[in-house]
């Protein structure tokens, strides 16, 4: 009885922690929707009807849109957003189970797999993405599932694995076309099987069957990519232009001058995985089993993914999310080598700290609401305020008697007119709000001299304004979240700075 309990209890604990970490506070934002991609997807679903399922939106595939459209309790914007978030949390939870299975294959130990799943549950980046109604959690699931199925194929090639991998891959493509790279582990496993039995015709037949089934599922779940091909094509060429930096847009300015690969290790992984896991994963490399096809498959697929995604001009955090799991995985290889139980437990607990620290933001009211409340109580009516546009949603201020000018700083350096406007706004404003790090972190450099001058003067007190109040929720343990890649700190939390004119 006791031994059964010791077997069930860890699984029960994992399930409980999974549900809690993924589903708690899916209604973050206090009724405001601060995530632009979530809003875009919700808008696309909102305009769909039973008679016309064409979303007229091709940045993503139709699978998550259809899923939401057919399952949302009410055809209202907020309900659609929450449904998107529900599915995101659902797929994130499912991924944890898959990672547990992958762990079993790799470590051949339930304890190590348990530790691996625990570290995955407390990975800050994965907790955050499960709370966003976007496609990332589905894509992470697809990559994980394909890796697991590829391991099964390597073990014993059964056609049901191949078809299941085809089905999952089709879902991946129907979610986002860039999921094509997630087919890699399946191709690799088929190739490794071929190297073993040297049967070329069988290799091509399997490859053909897998590809055909994938495309078929892709077509079923994202038909408008084919039926409205021209719209899909033009959307893709725009997205490709943005991704490789050939189409300059204001919200990718943070990537100007960034070094591929180095950027991810400096601005993404320490925040999404925590510094401890990153460090331990480095040590884990030296404890990797030699001549293990399973670990080879996982590492090669992840490295190729990293090399491809990492070199793109845009280096958003979410682009790296499918390989967040690799750091906990390598850390387990390090931790399992430690014999001393106390030390081992301590290290595991240390690894959980960044996740716990991150999760606390969902127990607090949204920082923007806190800031708004303070502003409403402390800023006198009819005050003139200079704020910044381009923040998805401006600060939700109930006090309509405050005159807020949301200035477009993205045009500042390129337009004399805007430069003159800013001068007069500074002169006439009583307060300056900086609602997020978006502009001052991205345009405070050589390539935006006018913006740089403005922020340097403001922060050093040379603009005749002084810092009055700062609202901030840091989500990164031992690190400052504002130094991370922008999207890590501007959707579900932010830092709001309020400056007051001297002698006011």
């Amino acid at each position: 009885m006791l031994s059964r309990l010791t077997k069930i209890l860890p699984v029960f604990l994992l399930v409980l922690l999974t549900i809690f970490s993924r589903f708690y506070c899916l209604d973050w934002g206090n009724g405001y929707f601060f995530h632009p991609d979530e809003n875009n997807m919700a808008s696309a679903v909102f305009q769909m009807s039973s008679s016309s399922l064409n979303p007229h939106f091709f940045a993503y595939g139709q699978f998550p849109l259809f899923l939401t459209f057919f399952t949302t309790p009410q055809h209202q914007f907020s309900s659609i957003v929450f449904t998107l978030r529900f599915w995101s949390a659902f797929f994130s939870s499912l991924s944890i189970f898959i990672f547990y299975l992958i762990g079993l294959k790799l470590f051949k130990s339930t304890t190590s797999s348990f530790i691996f799943a625990l570290l995955i549950i407390f990975t800050p980046g994965l907790i955050q993405l499960s709370h966003f109604g976007t496609t990332e959690s589905i894509l992470i699931f697809v990559f994980a599932a394909n890796i697991y199925l590829s391991q099964k194929i390597l073990e014993k090639l059964k056609f049901q694995f191949l078809f299941l991998a085809g089905f999952i891959s089709g879902i991946g493509l129907a979610t986002k076309i860039s999921a094509a790279i997630f087919l890699l582990p399946v191709f690799l496993s088929l190739f490794l099987v071929f190297l073993k039995n040297k049967n070329l015709s069988k290799f091509f037949i399997r490859l053909f069957l897998f590809s055909v089934f994938t495309v078929l599922v892709f077509f079923i779940f994202s038909p408008y990519n084919f039926l409205d091909f021209n719209s899909f094509k033009s959307s893709m060429s725009y997205e490709i232009g943005v991704a490789n930096g050939q189409t300059p847009i204001f919200y990718t300015r943070q990537f100007i001058g960034t070094i591929p690969y180095v950027f991810q290790f400096e601005k993404i992984f320490p925040y999404t995985n925590g510094v401890f896991i990153l460090l331990f994963s480095f040590f884990g490399i030296f404890n990797l089993p030699k001549k293990s096809k399973n670990i080879f498959l996982v590492l090669i697929s992840s490295i190729i993914f990293f090399l491809y995604q990492g070199q793109l001009f845009v280096k958003w955090t979410r682009f790296m999310s499918p390989i967040f799991f690799i750091f906990p995985l390598l850390s387990v290889y390090f931790i399992q080598k430690i014999k001393n139980t106390f030390l081992k437990t301590t290290l595991i607990l240390i690894c959980l700290l960044p996740g716990i620290y991150f999760f606390r933001i969902y127990f607090q009211p949204d920082i923007r609401i806190q800031a708004s409340n303070w502003i409403n109580q402390n800023i006198p009516p009819h005050s003139q305020v200079l704020s910044e546009s381009g923040n998805v949603i401006d600060l939700p201020l109930a006090n309509s008697k405050i005159n807020v000018s949301n200035f477009d700083f993205y045009q500042l350096d390129q337009s004399f007119e805007q430069q003159e406007n800013l001068k007069s706004l500074i002169k006439n404003s009583d307060y300056i709000f900086i609602p997020s790090r978006r502009v001052f972190k991205n345009q405070n450099n050589f390539y935006f001299p006018i913006s740089q001058d403005y922020y340097q003067k403001l922060f050093s007190g040379n603009l005749n304004f002084s810092s009055l109040k700062t609202f901030s929720t840091n989500n990164s343990f031992l690190l400052n979240s504002q130094n991370a890649e922008e999207t890590w700190s501007v959707f579900d939390n932010s830092t709001i700075r309020i400056f007051k004119k001297n002698n006011l």
Partner: protein, 558 residues
């Protein structure tokens, strides 16, 4: 007897190598078209040899110290200056107009010397005699060493001494004679006195000594190496110090600035090219296509499998490649110290091929690769060609643009043909894309009759970084698409290829890389100066083309 034949072969290879390295040594027709070389030439023609040994070590007063000649920023070593200046004085060729040629010849001599070290190293590693000779032959024909030997810069000096250091170090590891360790550290200090950047490999030497020794030697040997290196550096780079062992602030500042340039903390125009490059992959591609060429790189990859026999060399390659490969600035010359060893492994790879026909074929390809590259030294430098054309075809007092940080044209070729005859207008193309920049740029463009690009430096790197320069990129694309009031009328180039005087036309293979334009892979230019078949390397790294074979493009107002 066999040994004698090998020595004859080695001698012949050294002769060939030297000839290839001085072939077309005055490649810029005395116009000082390599900016780093120009800087070194300015410094070396201003400094003087110290009167005595005490004066040499006196940083404050030594005339050899660039800082005492108002060169506050000088990040190179001073040993190459000393060597070249002594020879310049000896041959009375120490003026600005001649000393760079002495520097180029010395550069070629040092790189030829590297082949000799490579020979002894290969022999010491017990490679087959044939392989040893082939390694020397491959190095003699490798493109980047040939190119860098044509420049009076510190790179060939550094690589000579660093290769010597590693040869002696490996010998010490095998033989354990303290004398070898002393010499190795001595030459390491000398190589740092040529270029300090090699300091990144110091931990590797120390770690190897630590792990290869036992007991007390684990401490004594690394410390000895460190001590001798420091002393050697103190002797051969005295101007890095302002007291017996106190580094001078000027030296620290210069090194900091140079480091900031490499990492991108210091923003300056040449760095624009790097923002679109991928760490590690970019340097590998440049080595593959340009520095070594595809065949030698392929042979290196084949030979590296046997790296377990040559641990130190393998880790040296790995360290330099990874460290330099993840910096923002990834100039080909930064990887030059690993070239002798890449070629050593290429020799090992070649040895493992059993097919004789394939071996012969590969050798022919390697020779061909060097042969086509040397073509660029056969022709008059494109900027000189362009200058002559400008003087003959553009009326004096016309307004000609040039891009800030790039050289203006025409060059001062003679009293009749020089820049004074024209109204030169500077375009600040690399400034941030602000409203103020464009106001000035538009005013300057309106005044201009001709737009002249003396290299691909900016039109290529800026359009590769559209997000950084959205308006400037559009300008270049529109210009090349003839959508502005200017039209391309002439271009001058000197690509690797084969000069065929009887051909009358130029067949150009490869992309021209013009922004926003799709051109055919093969183009025929019936209006070219040097008929033949050429391989366009417009997509190569900037530093590979802009010094000795840039493309000059002239646009005229329509």
């Amino acid at each position: 007897m066999k040994n004698k034949i090998n020595q004859i072969f080695l001698f012949l290879i050294l002769i060939i190598a030297f000839v290839l390295r001085i072939f077309g040594i005055n490649w810029d027709q005395g116009q000082h078209l390599h900016p780093d070389e120009r800087f070194l030439t300015m410094v070396i023609s201003d400094i003087k040899l110290p009167q005595n040994i005490f004066n040499y070590f006196d940083s404050q007063h030594s005339p050899l110290n660039p800082a005492n000649q108002n060169y506050d920023f000088y990040a190179y070593g001073t040993l190459p200056l000393l060597i070249v200046r002594i020879l310049g004085n000896l041959f009375s060729l120490n003026s600005y107009d001649y000393i760079f040629l002495v520097g180029r010849v010395v550069s070629a001599v040092f790189d030829t010397g590297t082949i000799l070290i490579l020979y002894f190293l290969s022999r010491f590693l017990k490679l087959k005699t044939k392989t040893t000779i082939l390694i020397c032959f491959f190095y003699a024909l490798a493109v980047l060493p040939i190119q860098l030997s044509h420049f009076f810069t510190v790179d060939t000096f550094t690589v000579f001494f660093s290769t010597l250091t590693i040869f002696l170090f490996i010998k010490f590891i095998k033989k354990n004679h303290f004398r070898l360790l002393f010499l190795s550290a001595l030459f390491f200090g000398i190589s740092l006195s040529c270029k300090i950047s090699l300091i990144i490999s110091l931990p590797l030497f120390l770690l190897f000594l630590f792990f290869k020794s036992t007991k007390l030697k684990r401490i004594i040997l690394p410390l000895s190496f460190l001590l001798v290196t420091c002393l050697s550096f103190r002797v051969f780079q005295p101007y890095a110090f302002n007291s017996l062992f106190g580094l001078s602030q000027g030296f620290i500042n210069s090194i900091n600035t140079a480091n900031q340039m490499i990492t991108g903390q210091y923003q300056y125009p040449p760095n624009i090219q790097w923002y679109s490059t991928i760490p590690l992959i970019h340097p590998f591609i440049t080595i593959f296509f340009f520095g070594l060429g595809p065949v030698l790189t392929f042979l290196f990859l084949k030979g590296i499998k046997k790296s377990s026999h040559y641990h130190f060399i393998f880790f040296f390659i790995l360290l330099i490649f990874c460290y330099q490969g993840i910096q923002l600035a990834k100039y080909m010359r930064y990887f030059y110290p690993i070239y002798p060893f890449l070629i050593l492994f290429a020799g090992v790879g070649f040895e493992s091929i059993s097919n004789l026909f394939l071996k012969k074929f590969l050798i022919i390809l390697i020779i061909f690769n060097a042969f086509i590259f040397l073509n660029i030294y056969l022709q008059i430098h494109p900027r000189v060609q362009a200058s002559q054309w400008i003087c003959q075809n553009i009326s004096s007092q016309s307004s000609l643009t040039y891009e800030y940080w790039d050289d203006s044209l025409p060059l001062d070729l003679s009293s009749k043909c020089n820049s004074q005859n024209f109204n030169l207008i500077k375009l600040d193309v690399a400034d941030p894309d602000t409203a103020a920049k464009w106001k000035l740029l538009n005013q300057n463009l309106q005044k201009s009759d001709y737009i002249i690009f003396s290299s691909s430096r900016f039109w290529k790197s800026i359009t590769d970084n559209s997000s950084m320069f959205p308006s400037m990129s559009s300008f270049y694309k529109d210009l090349f698409n003839n959508q502005l009031s200017f039209k391309q009328i002439k271009s001058f180039y000197s690509y690797p290829g084969v000069y065929l005087p009887f051909f009358k036309k130029c067949i150009l293979i490869g992309s021209n890389g013009y922004p926003g334009l799709k051109t055919s892979f093969i183009q025929i230019d019936s209006n070219c100066s040097y008929p033949g078949i050429y391989f366009r390397d417009n997509l190569a790294e900037e530093s590979f083309t802009v010094y000795d074979h840039p493309q000059v493009i002239i646009f005229s107002r329509q």
